[in-house]
């Protein structure tokens, strides 16, 4: 299943907005928090959720840290292509420790994420690769948008439009 989201912000060009999204993804990489999960039919437990963001390039995965984000932003700014596109794999891990100290790992959620500039904003395309969608695509995009806005250092909101599953939000290339 493919989900498409379009991000738009007042007085912010697509490359600028893309750079905020890239910083957001690098900040999301390595982030952990705790959430209530239900492992199978067992009662709910508080598990650690960990985000791993990797950039896909040349059929390989590169962990997307702050340095990688900076070079990606640099490349985007220098690019003369009408459309700038980056592909990522987002893996969300869930694990918890039992009373006896054993670490139980639950099924990961895995998404492919494509970030692309369009005329008036940035498109995020998410495809589910596996997992139980404990963190659904909308929550994931919410987190990316929150982080992007925080990265921008401004309180001007980033508006998110959602396309119906499988649909597109169009938008001609930059």
């Amino acid at each position: 299943m493919r989900y498409v989201f379009k991000l738009v912000r007042d007085r912010t060009g697509p490359v600028k907005l893309l750079s905020y999204v890239l910083v957001a993804l690098s900040r999301l990489n390595g982030f952990t928090d705790r959430m209530l999960v239900r492992p199978g039919h067992a009662p709910p437990v508080r598990a650690t959720r960990e985000f791993v963001v990797a950039r896909l390039a040349a059929d390989r995965e590169f962990l997307f840290d702050s340095g990688a984000a900076l070079s990606a932003i640099y490349a985007a700014r220098q690019s003369e292509e009408p459309t700038i596109e980056f592909r990522f794999r987002v893996t969300i891990k869930y694990y918890y420790r039992t009373d006896r100290g054993r670490i139980i790992t639950l099924r990961y959620d895995r998404y492919d994420l494509t970030v692309r500039t369009v005329e008036d904003g940035v498109l995020l395309e998410l495809s589910m690769l596996g997992g139980l969608s404990r963190t659904d695509p909308t929550s994931l995009v919410d987190m990316i948008v929150e982080e992007a806005r925080s990265a921008s250092g401004s309180t001007v909101p980033i508006i998110v439009a959602v396309a119906p599953p499988g649909g597109t939000l169009g938008g001609s290339a930059r």
Binding site: F31, D33, T155
Partner: protein, 740 residues
């Protein structure tokens, strides 16, 4: 317009006739009454009507109007002055800013209406400079405060004991529930009748505008949610540890009520064992963690980090501070909060005000916040919003790095807000109560208050004359519970039977006014530093003891020309033993008075709870005192202390006919003599005297200095400089009046 009560002191042109005000004033004249009326409906007018009638009935009496704060007392004075036909000198304001000597003169100035703050009045009652018996009416504004140790309670007791034909009028917007606060207030103030009017009362309804309340829920960003989750997990662990030790019962998790932790802390602080000390640190840690959670959830990341910064940079960190800073959740907090700049409520608020300003450019709003830090942040952000002209409004207390707002500043801001120079007031809780803040269209609760009374007071700032709106910003999953609990309490606060038009409740009978106290026949001189102690309060209520206040150089209580008492609580005794102060104090007491007495107050004298002083050391101290010939007396509590002092004073002054004579301690040096000579000038304390002498070098140089030179000394303002200059040049025997 017509005269509400046919009274010569009321200016009919200044008062709009409202039937309910006249009815309530007539009821209040029949006996001690508590009137509860929603805010903005003219409680002060009712007080003025009752005061005018009392002045007409008893021309020899005067009226005392008490209000909890200086600005409020001053505001009442202005309102009364506007409503009443009396000359300027009939109204006097008495607050703590006026020195005690001047206050005594004001009380005896022959004015008809006095407006004062309760602490000042109580101090003057205790020092004997004010006799409440001369007032024909006492008005207690914001009477819901008359509980516990608040001075309203003591003043009312003293008034009921001393006034021959007195009358009490208590006014509030938040009377409390009949079983709880209301009962206590009526008992404390000797109220016979309670009259409660609500916004729904038929005679009130025409005067109130509709009030709409809207709750806006705000979700926390995921980083803040993650931070909260970690902090809550740590708090749960600490609470569970305390529960495992049998110290807490009920639900041992992060939702533990703060009150339960505070009660446990005060219980543990009276015990003295290694176990209780360790537990005390954990309780303090739990309280701090709770505070941190509240700050993260309702104020924002910047405030939370500032709080941790303050703890980390404190010169002396307590054990619980160290424990807090070492918690894994707290260590991770800077990393988690680094990305988030502010609480999402701030965006909602900005949007709300921007929309409002574009719809109605003449709108006015108040935004209530809990912390001054948040007020600063909100103010700063609102300055960027189009159409919004914000102003800050907070208390007088100064904090680290920031001065409080002076009374004059507060008044100026309110005037400018009223004039439309500002249209949004960002206020802390100082704006909640009583102050006659101009009518506003919108009140925003930036963070909900857990107190029902405060919630009612905040709402009362709008919907007075024109329709108003209240918007409450709530963080999902963090603040909803506190808000709804307060909202539930609000219904109780606003009266037991809100649908009833007029609720009448007969309180306990007042003290029979025939029971006039006996003449006070013994005098106890109390040091000014002891004035706030429970012992003085207890003695002031004794009918045969006159408490006189003076700055004693040695001892705390003077009972005759030869008996002086140094009072120490067990904690004080341990502390003064640690720093060696006690021996010097007793030596000086012995030098001046023939019979110096050390009185120790506390239930277990050899076991002070908070000091690591061994019982043996204290026993040694007491033994030394005995060998020095200093009698040591024990008292269980302040009541025992007051009784012992009274008994000794009676023995000395009545049986042995000894007078109370203040003696001066021998000076340690000539410099000290010089400081004393200078500090005998009214308004010049020992500290100012020292600074003046340091600056000018000698007494003669101080006396010869002109006004400007005097003002160069820190602590000497224009008024004091004028006074000193005039005082040292005044001819001896000249009539009282302003210095030259």
């Amino acid at each position: 317009m017509s005269a509400p009560l046919e009274n010569p002191f009321i200016d009919p042109d200044a008062v709009e006739y409202r039937r309910y005000q006249v009815e309530l004033a007539k009821r209040a004249l029949k006996g001690n009454t508590l009137i509860s009326l929603p805010t903005g409906l003219g409680k002060t007018v009712i007080a003025a009507l009752v005061a005018a009638e009392r002045l007409r009935q008893r021309p020899e009496g005067s009226v005392l109007v008490l209000a909890p704060t200086k600005p409020l007392a001053s505001q009442h004075l202005s309102t009364f002055r506007r409503l009443m036909r009396l000359e300027e000198g009939a109204f006097r304001l008495v607050t703590g800013e006026v020195p005690p000597v001047r206050r005594e003169a004001i009380w005896h100035s022959g004015a008809k209406l006095f407006f004062a703050t309760p602490h000042t009045v109580w101090n003057d009652v205790v020092s004997g400079s004010l006799d409440l018996g001369g007032f024909s009416l006492l008005v207690f504004d914001e009477a819901h405060r008359a509980v516990g140790a608040y001075p309203y309670v003591r003043i009312a007791q003293a008034y009921l004991n001393s006034a021959r034909d007195g009358l009490i009028l208590a006014l509030t917007a938040t009377p409390g529930s009949p079983e709880g606060r209301l009962r206590e207030v009526t008992k404390s103030l000797g109220i016979r009748e309670v009259v409660i009017k609500t916004r729904d009362s038929p005679d009130i309804r025409p005067y109130v505008a509709p009030l709409k309340t809207r709750v806006v829920k705000v979700s926390l960003p995921y980083r803040l949610r993650a931070a909260l989750e970690l902090l809550r997990a740590d708090l749960t662990l600490v609470v569970r540890e305390l529960a495992a030790e049998g110290l807490l019962s009920g639900r041992p998790d992060y939702r533990i009520p703060l009150r339960e932790l505070l009660t446990l802390r005060s219980r543990l602080s009276t015990e003295d064992s290694p176990d209780s000390r360790a537990a005390l640190a954990k309780v303090a840690l739990a309280i701090k963690l709770r505070h941190l959670i509240d700050v993260v959830s309702s104020q924002g990341p910047r405030q939370a980090l500032a709080y941790l910064e303050r703890l980390a940079s404190a010169p002396r960190r307590g054990k619980s501070d160290r424990m807090l800073l070492d918690l894994p959740s707290v260590k991770k907090l800077p990393e988690l909060l680094r990305g988030s700049t502010h609480h999402p409520k701030l965006d909602v608020l900005k949007r709300l005000l921007r929309e409002r300003a574009s719809r109605d450019p003449s709108f006015k709003a108040i935004v209530f916040v809990s912390l001054r830090d948040t007020a600063n942040l909100v103010f700063q952000e609102l300055t960027e919003v189009k159409g919004v002209r914000p102003a800050k409004f907070y208390g007088q207390a100064s904090r680290a790095g920031e001065r409080g707002m002076s009374q004059a500043d507060q008044r100026r801001v309110l005037e400018e807000f009223s004039a439309g120079i500002y249209n949004v007031l960002v206020a802390t809780n100082v704006a909640e109560e009583g102050l006659d803040i101009p009518e506003v269209d919108l009140v925003v609760f930036y963070d909900p208050v857990p107190s029902a009374i405060r919630q009612v007071q905040r709402k009362g700032r709008t919907g007075r004359g024109r329709p108003g709106e209240v918007v409450v910003l709530l963080t999902v999953g963090a603040e909803e519970w506190a808000f709804w609990r307060a909202a539930r309490g609000e219904r109780q606060v606003m009266a037991a039977r809100p649908s009833t038009d007029l609720t009448t409740f007969t309180g306990p009978p007042t003290t029979p006014q025939a029971e006039r106290p006996a003449e006070r026949d013994v005098t106890v001189v109390v040091d000014t530093r002891e004035l706030q102690s429970e012992v003085v309060r207890e003695m002031a209520l004794m009918p045969d003891v006159k408490v006189s206040v003076s700055r004693l150089e040695v001892g705390d209580f003077l009972l005759s020309d030869r008996v002086a008492v140094e009072r120490k609580t067990v904690e004080d005794l341990a502390a003064s033993l640690v720093d060696g102060r006690i021996f010097e104090q007793i030596h000086r007491l012995r030098e001046v008075y023939e019979i110096p007495i050390l009185l120790i107050e506390g239930r277990d004298p050899y076991r002070p709870s908070r000091r690591g002083v061994s019982p043996k050391s204290l026993m040694g101290l007491v033994s030394s005192m005995a060998l020095m010939g200093v009698p040591v007396l024990w008292a269980r509590d302040h009541k025992d202390t007051a009784q012992i002092l009274r008994l000794i004073a009676r023995r000395e002054q009545l049986e042995r006919r000894r007078r109370v004579v203040l003696k001066r301690a021998p000076a340690k040096s000539l410099s000290e003599d010089m400081e004393r000579a200078l500090s005998s000038i009214p308004g010049v304390g020992p500290e100012t005297a020292r600074k003046l002498l340091k600056r000018f070098g000698s007494l003669i140089a101080v006396f010869n200095a002109d006004r400007d030179q005097l003002m160069e000394v820190r602590g000497v303002g224009r008024k004091l400089a004028d006074f000193i200059y005039g005082f040292v040049r005044r001819p001896y025997g000249a009539e009282e009046g302003e210095p030259d």
